[in-house]
Each structure stands twice: as structure tokens, then as C-alpha cells.
Symmetry: C2
Subunit: 321 residues, 2 copies
């Protein structure tokens, strides 16, 4: 959640001239905005400027980003035939621009912030499936679940392909220099645990194993996963992401030997400073210095977030450590 | 979740001629659509046709319902002054049309489905606050949380007023003949447990106590509440609503002596019949005949739900009992 975004004036300046996809497709621009949070906020790691949906771009479904409505898929997948018709994709080749962006970021970091690790990422199979089926964001994921229930074979085929795609892309990021990669299952919390186990877990595991085969640790991130934590651990990843709906010590007690990442509510960054600081301290105290904790937000930083508050949190965490 | 809606052809026929607010404001129409699920689906209880947002209508903020975008508030609450400027409301007087709708439903039920209980309902203070602050539905509830953190006194004043309003309306529904009332906290699951305890719990408790003072049991409903269950119990209610994110037996083990309601994923109604039946049976088997379980969906029925599948679930539950 250290990615550059509209909350940063420096990012808005770049976005005034370039679309999100242009930035992603231009390694120098991607590197420039990737370094912004490191240089302007003092965070400990850079996160590649990219979008969780980039892996689906070479599928040719018409991915675009609209101001306000978020990602849109022009030709969504609605029937088993649509899955069968998907083209074969070779991630390092067909998503070469992401690989180049990683290399450009590594180069820029070596010059301007030596020693700062780079985190790569991509959307998880379920979250990607939800976008390509719904055609965009969704509240209830009705079309996604309907497809999953009505066409289980085509569903598993779709998720297998997405897992290979995402795992391949994460592996390629790692081979290009990413020190860690993150599998982003933003919307998986809409599922009942048994549905996750049956329809999603094997595919997330496959994507994670493909990334790990490239020799990097994997952060397995989701939101609204309080009842899925043990299953997310089963799917894999060295670090488990945790949102704010569950106190971090309770979550960590359930993820066993995995490291954990989280769990400040991004909305807390709008709180008055003393209230914000109390919340940050509460998380740090619950963790109690146990090694393997990565302080982070529980989900993406919100538009309009006061940058001074972000800096204050970074400083407070550093002072506490 | 037995309320009439667009999934029913009989309801669509009424809606072709009348808006949602017209139906709510016309007791005979409200009674007509309230009886539709009882007569056409065979459910065991009628749920008043109403909207969770009706209690805020007399606040004069400009409530309307748009096709597609859902409820809209023309003049949202954005500052402490907006709370101070809210008019005094007397629920039985200013929401007399809801009270009359309850009476009309009771009358119609006595004639056409004698012995069928009537469930009244209204939105809970937090969920109503989220609508009047955001101006409509929301994904992240940023404005709501920002108001809560930045203006805690005005927040508590707003929720106190909403609690009196909702509690007063639920009490009036009970006095007009509703056999049970339901407090609908649809979006409360966006909160961290400590935020719920501090900013919401006392107000939900107040609303529930006002309803109980009218002599009826209260169903306390929310979604995405797996980490809030104990706190919802603390706030009150004889029956706790549970969504599909947590297996019903695990949820019930945590709500102690309360009855529970739930927990089928509304999306499961799109599954092929054998798959749907497996899911219904799984819930009933987990409950194992323990008294105090109300079979229900975990949230509202989705547009486009096949009515035959709804009937099949009703029949299956009846056959199992």
C-alpha cells in the first residue's frame, strides 16, 4: 500500500500528462512514480507502480481505466465458450513492459535509494476472475458467483489460466529484480469459506508456487478475510496480509509461523493526529516487537488522504522500532 | 429477506405503475406487495414492504431512489452544523404512513394468510448515518469514518438522534401490530471492532431497547460481522443475523443464548438445483435441529434470482423441519 497515487501531488503531476496504462507501459515513468513514496514519504520499501489487472491485458478483453468508475473490461467473460476462446499468453513476453518497469525501478532505486527493496505484485486468480466476469468492480459479485456455481469446469479452467498468468508474471518480476512479490486477492472476502476452499484455494496456491519458484517470498494479501485466514495460509505465502476488521494479535495467533502485514484502516489517516497516533501505537503494542511484522495499511490508501498524516505514521513506526 | 422485490413478477407489475416511495407511502399498496412472498413463495413470515432509509425521510435531507444507483440523499450531512440543524422528529407522527402500512398488512394477513407473523424493520443508526453522510451507497465509507474520527461529538449526537428515530419507528411498528422487528445494520462490517464498540454500540443498543419497550423481540442484522458478533450481542437483540462468511454453527457458538438467523449466500440461489440443495442441507445439518434457528438468506435477495429456486429452498426447509 506504499504505491504512488492521487494522494501525492508529485503523482498527480505525472498523471496530468499520462494515463495509468501509459505510465505502466513506459518503464521510465513507472520507475519515476514508483520512487515517489520512497523519496517523499520515507517508506522502507518501494512498490512497483502497476495495476493488479495488468496480467489480463494480453487476454485481449479490452481493459481500460475510467476516471471514477475504475477498471473496465469491454468484452467480459460470461460463458464457458469465452474461456475456451482465450488466447495463450506467455507472461514474460506478452507482459514484457512490466518486466522492463521492474528493471527500471531497480536501476533507479540503486542510484537514488540504495538498499531499498522493491515489491512486485499482481491480482490473484479470484480477484482477476471477478473483474473479467463482472466487467468492472462489483458490490455483490453476483455474475462471478453465478459463473462459479453454474459452470464449475469452465470456472476452474479460467482460474487455472489466470493462475499460470499471474504466477508467471510474478516469477518474471522476481527474475527482473523484485525482492518480494505480492498476490493481491482484494475481493476474496465475499466468499464463504467452503467456496474459497473449493473454487479458489488450489489456484492461488498454484500462482504462489510459481512465484516462489523464482526464489522470492510472497505476500498473500486479501481484505475481509477474518474467516478465511487459515485457508489463505493453506494456499501459501510467507507473509499474510490482514485488514482492520480483526485485531492484529488475534489474526497472527491464527496464521501460525507466517509473517503478517497490516492492519491500519486507511480511513484512520483522516483522523486527527492524536487519534491516528493512538491507533498506530495500538497495532505496534499488540505486535509487541515480535519479529515478522510489516506495518502497513489494511487496504489501498484512499483518495484525498492527507500526505502529512502518512508521513507522521511512517515516522512514528520508525521511532517505535 | 423475504421482502418483495424485482425477482417477483407480481412485484414488477406493481412497480411498473408506482415508485418505491409511492408504494411505501400508500398502505394498501404496501400491504399488497408485503403479501406477495407469502402467497407466491410460501415463506413462514411476511416482512413489511419498506426501506431501511424511511426513518431519515422526515429529516428533510432529500431522500430519493434512483433506478440502478439505489438510494440518494440530496443534501448530505458533512459538518457538525448539519447535525445541529436537523429538525425534531416524532416517529409515530412524522412516519405515520409506515404505521398505517403495518396496520394494513396485519389486516390483509388476517384475511388472506391468518397466523402469519409480520416482521417490521428499519436501518440501524450506523447504516443510516453512512447513507446520510455519503449521500448514497459507498464502497469504503471514507466520508462516514472521516466524520466519525474528526467530529466525535457531532457523530455521537447524530447517532443518538438516529437511534431515537429508529427505535421510535420500530416501537411504533410493534404497537401497530408488527410481531417482530428487525434492526438492519447492513454496512457495519466495514468497521474495526474497537470502532464499533466506541462509535456505534451504545446507539444500536438504544434503538433496540426502544423497540423492545414496545414488547416485541428484535432481530439484530448485519453483514460481514464475523469479528463483531460478540459486540452485536452486547448491543442487544433476541435474534442475531449471520451472513455466509462464517459457518452457522461457528457463529452460533459465539452468540450464546441468542437465536440466530441466516446464513445462505443469496448468490447460491443462482446455483444449479442439486448444488443449491446441498448448501441448504449443509446449513440445516450444522444447526442440527437446535431450537432458535431461523432459516434465511445472509443478505437481501439479488435482482434476477430465479423464483423457482426460491420456492425450492422454502419447500426443502419445510420438508427438513
Amino acid at each position: 500500500m506504499r504505491q504512488a497515487g492521487r494522494y501525492l501531488a508529485e503523482y498527480r503531476a505525472v498523471r496530468a500528462k499520462h494515463s495509468i496504462l501509459e505510465i505502466c507501459h513506459t518503464p521510465e515513468l513507472a520507475a519515476e512514480v514508483t520512487l515517489q513514496p520512497v523519496e517523499h514519504l520515507g517508506v522502507d520499501a518501494a512498490i512497483l507502480f502497476a495495476d493488479i489487472l495488468l496480467p489480463v491485458e494480453p487476454l485481449g478483453l479490452g481493459l481500460s481505466f475510467s476516471e471514477g468508475a475504475g477498471p473496465l473490461i469491454e468484452r467480459p467473460i460470461r460463458a464457458p465458450e469465452d474461456v475456451a476462446a482465450l488466447p495463450d499468453v506467455d507472461p514474460p513476453r506478452d507482459l514484457g513492459f512490466v518486466v522492463e518497469a521492474v528493471a527500471a525501478c531497480k536501476h533507479a532505486l540503486a542510484q537514488r535509494a540504495p538498499g531499498t527493496p522493491l515489491i512486485g505484485f499482481a491480482g490473484a486468480p479470484f480477484t482477476l476472475a471477478s473483474y473479467v466476469i463482472e466487467g468492472g468492480s462489483s458490490r455483490n459479485f453476483t455474475l462471478t458467483k453465478r459463473f462459479m456455481y453454474q459452470h464449475p469446469e469452465a470456472w476452474h479452467e479460467l482460474l487455472r489460466r489466470l493462475a499460470d498468468l499471474v504466477g508467471g508474471l510474478l516469477g518474471a518480476q522476481a527474475r527482473a529484480g523484485a525482492d518480494v512479490v505480492q498476490l493481491f486477492d482484494s475481493w476474496v472476502g465475499c466468499l464463504a469459506p467452503e467456496d474459497y476452499r473449493r473454487f479458489v484455494l488450489p489456484h492461488s496456491r498454484r500462482a504462489i508456487e510459481l512465484a516462489q519458484a523464482a526464489g522470492v517470498p510472497v505476500i498473500h494479501f486479501g481484505t475481509d478475510t477474518a474467516t478465511l485466514l487459515e485457508l489463505l495460509v493453506e494456499a501459501g505465502g510467507e507473509v499474510m496480509g490482514v485488514d482492520w476488521r480483526i485485531p492484529i494479535d488475534q489474526a497472527w495467533a491464527r496464521t501460525g509461523d507466517r509473517a503478517v502485514q497490516g492492519n491500519l484502516d486507511p480511513a484512520a489517516l483522516f483522523a486527527p493526529r492524536p487519534e491516528l497516533e493512538t491507533r498506530v501505537r495500538d497495532i505496534l503494542q499488540r505486535v509487541g516487537g515480535r519479529p515478522g511484522f510489516i506495518f502497513n495499511l489494511g487496504h489501498g490508501i484512499l483518495p484525498g488522504t492527507p500526505v502529512d498524516n502518512v508521513r507522521a505514521v511512517v515516522d512514528l513506526v520508525h521511532a517505535f522500532a
